[in-house]
């Protein structure tokens, strides 16, 4: 594993292009485009204000930079660096901006979610969509980029509009039986749209592409409901994480629950491998202390850690949440399927330092990773069943069925990993800190040298 040097970034805006060749980062009001392998700066663009949101177009030819305060969106071209495009929303304000899947239209949501404006880079045509809903996930594009589902709210009722992205033609418009629609997501095969209600009511509605209601699922009443939702890559399963600390898996044939994954505080099953992160502070002599500068970033003083395999029964530290406050820190807030759909990684908010990995073939708990700090972000490798996670410490953690490893990110200034993002070929990772970023290149050829550092 190789680590690049640390670069500056602001607002956690670091994105690798979809074709995997470039890395774009934002530093205040500048957009820096680098080559992914050499990290040489290829292009440097200057925007009119601090960039708040940055996104690559799907064909990796354009980059969108949004500045919400000024209501501006600037688009830059990689092929022609002197090409420019500026969209000014004027007094209507700007709350969010995104690309359409064809990479030639930009969807801007105005302030107060008054409307969504669809700007075209090819023609002078401008489309407007009224009454978009301000919710957790109000817009979703299907994976092949042909359809867009948009949540709307009119007269205290929720609606879903399905548009054809080719010409923004309204395909279907139907009312949903939700109290307060919180989000919608297409299945990976683009045939089913999952719509879920807000946390006050546990309800998932499944609509076919042509607008028919296929099924409705509700696990219980009254208690706080759905917190997160994820489709399996084959569209076979729908995983629903809820505030009752359980994940329910629905199957795509009957849309009924086939199993439930619980997150208990004690793990007794001997088949589960429990990795516990153990920190070992280096023992230093006085000599060492005097000769080196005693700073938190000093690599000598860096706290090393490794994984130890714990024996069952295993106790998980639970933090009791304050139930009087809204959106309590309890329940399954993050769900992610591995690329082959064999594993599901979950995180329960009242056990924030633990990541649970479930085996979808056996429908059982495969591994549990307990960290020393709360897990901030985890993401599966897009090619193989390998999970990367970070906890806000200067370490990167990787899990695979062969074992798990904790890697120290070499840095002088105390680089804390707050978020991470895989490259599309699964050979490198972008580690994002508060104000810095670092690239980690995996060893692609020889896995055997890595295997001896894996804890099995």
């Amino acid at each position: 594993m190789n680590f690049s040097e640390i670069f500056k970034q602001s607002n956690q805006l670091c994105r690798i292009s979809p074709d995997g060749r470039y890395l774009a980062t934002c530093v205040q009001y500048r957009l820096v485009v680098r080559d992914v392998n050499s990290l040489q700066i290829l292009h440097l663009y200057t925007c009119l204000d601090q960039i708040v949101h940055m996104e690559w177009s799907s064909d990796s030819l354009f980059i969108l930079c949004a500045m919400y305060k000024r209501g501006l969106v600037q688009v830059w071209s990689l092929e022609q660096p002197d090409w420019h495009c500026k969209i000014d929303e004027g007094s209507i304000g700007l709350v969010s901006s995104r690309w359409s899947p064809d990479g030639r239209h930009i969807l801007n949501t105005t302030e107060f979610h008054l409307r969504v404006t669809v700007w075209s880079l090819c023609t002078k045509a401008v489309s407007y969509i009224k009454y978009p809903k301000a919710c957790q996930k109000g817009i979703d594009f299907s994976r092949d980029g042909s359809y867009m589902a948009l949540a709307e709210r009119r007269d205290c009722k929720d609606y879903v509009s399905v548009f054809v992205c080719e010409d923004w033609h309204l395909l279907r418009h139907f009312e949903t039986e939700t109290q307060d629609l919180a989000g919608l997501e297409w299945s990976p095969n683009g045939c089913v749209l999952a719509v879920w209600d807000s946390c006050l009511e546990y309800k998932v509605l499944l609509y076919s592409l042509d607008g028919r209601l296929l099924s409705s699922f509700s696990a219980y009443e009254w208690s706080l409901g759905i917190k997160s939702l994820a489709w399996s890559p084959s569209s076979q399963f729908l995983a629903i994480g809820s505030f009752d600390e359980k994940v329910r898996i629905l199957n795509h044939i009957t849309w009924k629950k086939i199993t439930e994954f619980e997150h208990p505080a004690t793990i007794c099953s001997p088949k589960t491998v429990v990795y516990k992160e153990v920190e070992k502070r280096p023992a230093l002599s006085i000599q060492d202390l005097s000769s080196h500068s005693v700073s938190s970033g000093c690599p000598l003083l860096a706290v090393q850690s490794k994984y130890e395999i714990s024996q069952p029964p295993f106790q998980i530290p639970v933090v009791k949440p304050d139930l009087d406050r809204a959106n309590p820190k309890v329940g399954v807030s993050s769900l992610a399927f591995s690329a082959d759909g064999r594993y599901l990684a979950t995180k329960n908010d009242n056990m924030a330092s633990v990541v649970w990995v479930w085996n979808m073939q056996k429908m059982s708990l495969e591994a549990v990773l307990e960290q020393t700090a709360a897990v901030r972000c985890f993401q599966w490798d897009p090619r193989r069943p390998r999970l990367a996670l970070c906890t806000g410490t200067p370490r990167l953690y990787l899990w695979s069925p062969a074992g798990s490893v904790s890697v120290q990110v070499p840095s002088e200034g105390g680089f804390q990993v707050h978020a991470l993002s895989w490259h599309s070929n699964g050979d490198s990772l972008v580690l994002i800190g508060k104000e810095h970023l670092c690239l980690c290149y995996m060893d692609t050829e020889d896995k055997s040298t890595d295997s001896n550092i894996w804890t099995k």
């Binding site: 799907s58 064909d59 354009f62 688009v75 071209s77 002197d82 090409w83 420019h84 495009c85 500026k86 969209i87 000014d88 929303e89 004027g90 007094s91 209507i92 304000g93 064809d102 990479g103 030639r104 302030e111 107060f112 404006t117 700007w119 880079l121 090819c122 023609t123 002078k124 045509a125 401008v126 042909s146 054809v164 080719e166 010409d167 033609h169 395909l171 095969n189 683009g190 045939c191 946390c199 006050l200 076919s208 592409l209 042509d210 009254w222 208690s223 706080l224 044939i253 139930l323 009087d324 406050r325 809204a326 959106n327 309590p328």
Partner: protein
């Protein structure tokens, strides 16, 4: 009979009966006046009264006064007695009535006691039931309280969620109002606009089309096509899965049938003929009608039902076998059906040993083949040594070795030729093996010939053979071979010549050849 005895007899009835009149005549007669008098005296004095007669009164006279007094006293006594009797009678009656009364009251009280006992038990029972009810109600109450608490918690969390949302909406509303005010005040309104240097091409390179009815229809068509292809794919997968599972089920059924048939020959009569024939019939029909089965619910059910039947039979059979196996373990005789683990293990061991032996054999044969390949070179060298030299025999070996070492070094330089000659060499080796076979046969026939015609003429042959024998021995002994490169092809005929000359001794000294093994 004495007069006393007479008297006692007569007295007895008078005393036992209550008011029975005295029979005076039988007691006192004119003869026994004196005895009666003395007897009466005795009796009276025993009663504590004054005597009736004292001796002073005269022998044959009675003291009338005393008699009258005693009579009076007796009457008094009698009257007292009667009175006492009356009193006692009254007393007795009184006590009888008392006892009757007491008995009545006793029975009454007993009845009351029974009643009260029964009431007590019923009250106890009622109390127990009530206590149970109380317990139930208490647990219900606890549950209800918990439920209430839970609902309260839910209400609290929902309330906090509503409040949070409400506050958020209020904040947004406030912002909206501010914005509206600002817009009303603001004179210049900045419109939305997009500035672009030049319009870009579409990603797919096509021109954008007008929105017409045709495009709409096309979109609809696309939607349904996508859905249909998804359903098609899913249906295909399911059909595949179905057919695979059906195959597996049929295989299972066949296996089960064979198992049942094979293990229970005696029970065949017990099993009804229908399932068996049904099995056979089904098998045939199903093989031929596989295509139509996918839509036939009955056939599916038949298959699953027959599988279930067979599985149940198999399970019962296995249970029986298990019980038999446990009996066997207890030492109650062997079950012919059960496969003993020990022989199985022994079989495995034996097979493993055989495998190991074969492997060793192959390895040794490879080594020998290698030696054979290098041996013709040695033969050439051995042949190059003059027959009569003192290097012959065992003593010449070290010198030979030295010379071979030098030759080996020389041959080392020729190593580049090795690869080319290797092919010819392998051919030679093959030929060699053939010739060996021939040689062995010849030798065998020769030996037979020798044995059958044992004559002194063999002595003459022996000195000639000795050299050949020793050369052959030197050729074939493994120690002298340094693994030299292949010899020339011309050496092979010489090998042949050497081989054919050898006798029974080299046969012994020769390492076993592959051909002999295969014969």
């Amino acid at each position: 009979m004495s007069p006393l005895g007479h008297f006692s007899q007569s007295e007895a009835p008078s005393l036992s009966g209550h008011r029975s009149p005295f029979v005076l005549t039988s007691f006192c007669t004119e003869d026994n006046v004196l005895e009666c008098r003395s007897y009466i005296n005795q009796e009276v004095s025993s009663l504590g009264l004054r005597a009736v007669w004292t001796p002073t009164d005269g022998p044959a006279e009675l003291n009338v006064v005393a008699v009258l007094n005693s009579l009076y006293e007796l009457i008094q006594l009698h009257r007292q007695g009667l009175r006492a009797l009356d009193d006692m009678e009254v007393e007795r009656q009184r006590s009888a009535s008392n006892t009757e009364l007491l008995q009545l009251s006793n029975t009454r009280l007993k009845g009351q006691l029974e009643l009260s006992k029964r009431e007590n038990t019923s009250l106890l029972e009622k109390e127990r039931q009530l206590q149970l009810k109380v317990k139930n109600l208490q647990s219900c109450l606890k549950n209800e309280k918990e439920e209430v608490q839970r609902l309260q918690n839910i209400i609290a969390s929902r309330a906090s969620q509503y409040n949070h949302d409400m506050k958020r909406k209020e904040r947004e509303f406030g912002k909206l109002k501010e914005r509206l005010n600002q817009l009303l005040v603001d004179k210049k309104e900045k419109k939305q606009a997009m500035e672009v240097l030049n319009y870009v091409e579409r990603a797919d390179g096509k021109r954008s089309m007008w929105k017409t009815g045709r495009t709409e229809a096309r979109h609809e068509g696309e939607v349904y096509r996508t859905l249909l292809s998804d359903y098609d794919a899913r249906q295909r997968e399911l059909v595949l899965e179905n057919s695979e599972q059906r195959k597996v089920l049929q295989q299972m059924k066949r296996d089960m049938v064979s198992l049942l048939r094979g293990s229970k020959p005696a029970r065949r009569e017990e099993t009804p003929g229908d399932p068996q024939t049904q099995v056979r019939g089904e098998g045939d029909s199903e093989d031929s009608e596989e295509v139509f089965e996918s839509s036939c619910v009955d056939a599916r059910e038949k298959l699953t039902n027959s599988i279930r039947l067979k599985w149940r039979k198999l399970k019962s059979h296995m249970e029986r076998l298990d019980s038999q196996a446990s009996l066997v373990q207890a030492g109650e005789g062997a079950e012919p059906d059960a496969v003993p683990l020990e022989t199985h293990g022994q079989e495995m061991e034996r097979l493993k040993l055989e495998i190991q032996q074969c492997k060793d054999f192959i390895h040794s044969q490879q080594q020998l083949l290698q030696q054979r390949l290098t041996s013709p070179c040695e033969e050439e060298e051995a042949a190059a040594i003059p027959p009569g030299s003192p290097m012959q025999g065992e003593g010449g070996r070290p010198g030979e070795r030295g010379r071979l070492g030098e030759d080996w070094r020389a041959l080392e330089e020729q190593r580049t030729h090795f690869e080319k000659e290797r092919k010819t060499f392998t051919e030679a080796a093959i030929r060699l093996s053939h010739e060996r076979m021939m040689f062995e046969e010849d030798r065998a026939t020769w030996l037979k010939h020798q044995f059958l015609h044992w004559t002194p003429f063999t002595d003459q042959n022996q000195p000639e053979m000795t050299e050949g024998e020793q050369e052959a021995a030197s050729v074939f002994s493994p120690e002298c071979l340094p693994g030299s490169p292949s010899p020339e092809t011309s050496s092979s005929p010489r090998c042949q010549a050497l081989q054919t000359q050898s006798t029974a001794d080299p046969y012994r000294s020769l390492p076993p050849s592959p051909e002999s093994r295969y014969r």
